[in-house]
């Protein structure tokens, strides 16, 4: 126990002495709580940027745009393409494309198109749902308007039908009367005697008679003329006679008058005779002719009349049929009207609300808070526990492993379990501190209830801290650097997070994955347990199978912690041994190479000496350096130029010193070459003394 406490104290000292670590440990959860609390303290309404395109402005488009304006940040675009570009650039989250000719009409589908970036998987459905809901509400209003119109029309129809019943009755009666009249007419028309035979009229005989009459008339006329003439003569004679008569003047006058009148009458008669003769004969013939023609016409007309009569009778008969049919139709109409009326009458649901909203739903929330923070809190807590547990535990283990002191820990008589528990308890204490901070802020600042069901909550948190700490320790044991262990921790945490329902509902995953996640994902198990404990106030015994699974996990993971620790220790020792071996081999090799180099340098055969242009022999770098020092630039260039560097060649070929040769080739000037040589000389001297000392 003392040792564990000592290890814990040591770990805390190490952590606290790294100011950044201390800050992160203390303030990390604070920061997380503040940020997340502020982020999730809202009611969950989505405030998004919406783009829209209105090809034709209308009342409808205006009303929808106005609706969007109330709830979202809207921006108008000229066309769909620019709106889509707005989505791509992040200016807007989705585009609403209104149709052309946006009016409610029979042939208008009025399709409003939502263009949405469905790559934002955590947002796009909510966004579409939110906007759809708004639009659906508006559509519902319109539907209600139209429905009301329909209902009114139905009522009107019913009333009209009701009003028109008498009319139909009248129609029927009139129909009946018409039929009767038609029958009468039919009978009368059918009874019309239109028999007429022209030939029976013997017009020719009449014509002949007329001719005879004309002849007779002429004769008569002739006689008449003679008579008249005679009468005239008589009158004239009488007139003359009168004068000669002995009678009173008055009687004379009277006789004159009479004679005059008679003369007048005779003249008139003469005239008339003339006229009649002229006229009557011609007229008679003409008349007879006309009569003949007329009679012919009449005959034809009678024929036609007969035909027409027959036709009329037939048509009247048809009319009768039609009237009958019409009556049937009227009766059918009557039936239909009655049926319509009955149907309309029989409609049970005529209330607008009932039609447009036949089913209403009400969401009764178990929890009445508006803020989402409550609901996300278990996830948040487990998220903190998971990531910090994994990261902190793995980092502590790796820090210990890579620390210089790790070796000395192995040299002490301390069991592996002591070290394991020391690390575990260190992590546990740190996480408890963080959770206390988180819960305090949650309770105090956001006024949430954390005290009730504290025992169960605490127990569950303890289990989860233990589980993730030990998983983190396994990671720390497996990986050898902080970077790789951090990566592994983050990767594992991310995997557990992604196959949880925090980002994506489990119900939307393939069934197998969902089942695995639900049953075996410690993050999901943890959040469920915590949620039940905090939200539903479940006790430990009511926590269900999830708790047993977590406990089982803890036992299994603990076994792996021990195994991985032992493996880590073995690997460390092997690496230590390997390090020793490699160091041993490296030093051996280096030592051998250095000896070779030095031997070569100290024992250059005379025939391999560098021979200068003036036949001097140089056997080592010192001599070479001294010789070069005495050369002028042009003389130096004979040895070292862009094409060749004979000094470097000699160093490589004779001294077998690759490194020095390469450096010398880079030097193009005398001073540079001398510097290289000087360095080479120093190195050889150092090597000499080093080897001497080592020996």
């Amino acid at each position: 126990m003392k040792k564990i406490i000592s290890i814990i104290k040591k770990n805390f000292k190490l952590i606290m002495r790294s100011r950044i670590s201390a800050l992160i440990i203390l303030f990390g959860p604070l920061l997380i709580m503040v940020v997340v609390g502020l982020a999730f303290s809202g009611s969950g309404e989505i405030r998004i940027n919406v783009g829209y395109v209105v090809p034709e402005v209308s009342n409808m488009t205006d009303s929808f745009v106005h609706l969007m304006n109330d709830k979202y940040n809207v921006k108008e675009y000229t066309d769909a393409k620019s709106c889509n570009e707005g989505i791509a650039s992040g200016e807007v989250t989705l585009c609403v494309l209104f149709p052309h000719d946006f009016v409610i009409a029979n042939n208008n589908t009025n399709e409003i198109v939502f263009t949405v970036d469905n790559s934002k998987i955590n947002l796009f459905e909510s966004v579409v749902d939110a906007l759809e809901k708004s639009f659906n509400d508006k559509a519902l209003m319109l539907t209600q308007g139209l429905t009301q119109e329909l209902l009114d029309k139905l009522n009107d129809t019913q009333s009209s039908i009701s009003n028109k019943t008498e009319l139909i009755l009248n129609l029927k009666n009139e129909n009946k009367i018409l039929r009767e009249d038609t029958n009468v007419v039919s009978n009368e028309v059918g009874g019309l005697d239109l028999d007429f035979d022209y030939n029976n009229l013997k017009i020719d005989v009449l014509e002949d008679e007329s001719d005879s009459l004309s002849d007779a008339f002429d004769t008569v006329k002739g006689v008449a003329d003679d008579v008249i003439k005679e009468s005239e003569d008589l009158i004239n004679d009488l007139d003359d006679e009168i004068d000669d008569m002995n009678i009173s003047s008055s009687d004379k006058n009277n006789l004159d008058d009479l004679l005059n009148e008679s003369l007048t009458n005779i003249l008139e008669l003469k005239n008339n005779m003339n006229d009649t003769g002229e006229i009557n004969t011609d007229d008679l013939q003409a008349t007879i002719s006309a009569l003949k023609t007329t009679l012919r016409n009449v005959d034809q007309k009678f024929a036609r009349a007969t035909s027409a009569r027959d036709t009329s009778v037939s048509k009247i008969s048809n009319m009768d049929d039609k009237l009958n049919a019409s009556l049937i139709k009227i009766m059918k109409i009557e039936e239909t009207f009655q049926a319509i009326y009955s149907n309309i009458d029989a409609t049970e649901v005529t209330n607008l609300e009932s039609i447009t909203k036949p089913i209403t739903k009400r969401v009764d929330k178990i929890f009445t808070e508006d803020s989402q923070l409550n609901f996300y809190f278990p996830y948040l807590v487990i998220l903190i526990i998971m990531f910090i547990g994994l990261l902190l535990a793995s980092t502590l283990v790796v820090m210990e492993k890579t620390s210089r002191a790790h070796f000395r820990n192995f040299v002490t008589p301390t069991s592996d379990m002591t070290f394991i528990f020391g690390q575990y308890v260190t992590t546990l204490i740190i996480m408890v501190i963080q959770l206390v901070i988180v819960l305090s802020i949650f309770g105090f600042y956001f006024h949430r209830d954390v005290i009730s069901n504290l025992a169960t909550t605490t127990f569950i948190l303890f289990l989860l801290i233990t589980l993730f700490t030990w998983i983190g320790m396994i990671i720390g044991n497996i990986f050898n650097t902080e970077e790789t262990s951090t990566l592994a921790s983050i990767s594992l945490g991310s995997i557990l997070l992604f196959i949880s329902d925090l980002i994506f509902p489990l119900e939307r995953m393939p069934p197998l994955i969902a089942e695995i996640a639900r049953t075996y994902n410690p993050f999901v198990l943890g959040t469920e347990l915590l949620r039940k404990a905090m939200m539903h106030k479940r006790t430990i015994s009511q926590s269900g199978v999830d708790l047993y699974i977590v406990l089982l996990y803890i036992i299994v993971v603990f076994v792996f912690v021990i195994l991985s620790h032992k493996l880590m220790k073995r690997s460390y020792l092997l690496r230590w041994g390997g390090y020793v071996a490699r160091r041993h081999l490296r030093m051996q090799k280096q030592s051998q190479e250095e000896k070779k180099l030095l031997k070569r340098y100290n024992n250059v055969p005379t025939d391999e000496y560098f021979i200068t242009k003036d036949n001097k022999k140089l056997g080592n770098l010192v001599e070479m350096r001294n010789y070069i020092k005495a050369l002028n630039d042009s003389e130096f260039k004979e040895y070292v130029n862009s094409e060749a560097n004979v000094f470097a060649d000699w160093v490589l070929d004779v001294l077998k010193n690759d490194e020095l040769s390469i450096i010398m080739r880079k030097a193009k000037r005398k001073s540079g070459t001398m510097t290289c040589l000087q360095k080479g000389i120093k190195k050889y001297d150092k090597l000499q003394s080093k080897l001497t000392k080592k020996k």
Binding site: T412, W576, G577, R583, T692
Partner: protein, 327 residues
Amino acid sequence: MGNIILKINDVSKRFGNKEILNKVNLNIRSGEIFGIIGLSGSGKTTLLNTVIGFLQPEGGDVFFKLEHLLEYQNDAISYRSVYKNEDDVKRMFGFAAQTPSFYSKLNSLENLDYFGNLYNLSHDIRRTNSEILLQLMGIYDSRHLPAGNLSGGMKKRLDIACALIHDPKVLILDEPTADLDPILRKQMWYLINQINEKGTTILLSSHFLDELELLCDRVGILYDGKIIKAGTPNEIKNFYSKEEEIKLETSPGKYNKIINALKRETKELCIKKMAIQDNKLIVYTQKAERSLHQVLHILEDMNEILIDVVVEKPTLQEVLEKLIEKK
């Protein structure tokens, strides 16, 4: 020096195809300073790591005597395998690798306290030991500084202090003076001596043969994976070389002439070799007295002024060079 505290029996160790240790046999006595010498890459570190139990040998075993049985001679009961009694080994042994091993962000006191805790030392003992060790190592004044801020030498000393916090019977040091300047090296050796004077057996490896020669009670030469010879420095020197060295420094220093003059009498004086090194003339001879006598004569004849003369046995370094040449 007491009984054998550590027995290295036929220990072989290979890494991959490369055999590093080949049936190494060595006995370390209680209370001694034993130095392992060898060329770079000869396997010194491997041997030390194997002794502490850090590396498992492919063959052989390492036995140690439990602390409370140190006085007993009976091998069968007294000795335990290092590999089967890890905790006992860890309690009895202290180890300081070539790279210091402590927490850079903790200060010296905290490091000592922490490691002392891992050895189950009580608070008082930890405190006492820490104080003593910090004083001994000469880093007491900087005990509150983060260990990472200490100088190279101080880090080494802290490392050794951490190895000694539990008062081990055996202290294993892998190249304790590597990367230290001469003054610090001297201090380190002094320290090692002091630790040894308190009764701690020290097993160390080093490149600095001259220091080993002075400091170690016994040395072992590791060559080609084997301890080819172990013994006191003088025993080794005598075993490999009967020659003595006459080191002369003269003015004006016409050593070549002196060499030429001596060459005539090489056989008579049993002069094996003459060399000019570090502005001194070194004459290797089996008859040091006579040779010196002759040299002085020559100097007088040549009007060379004698500045300094030393007659000594060849150094371990020289012995090793010779040995390697032989091999």
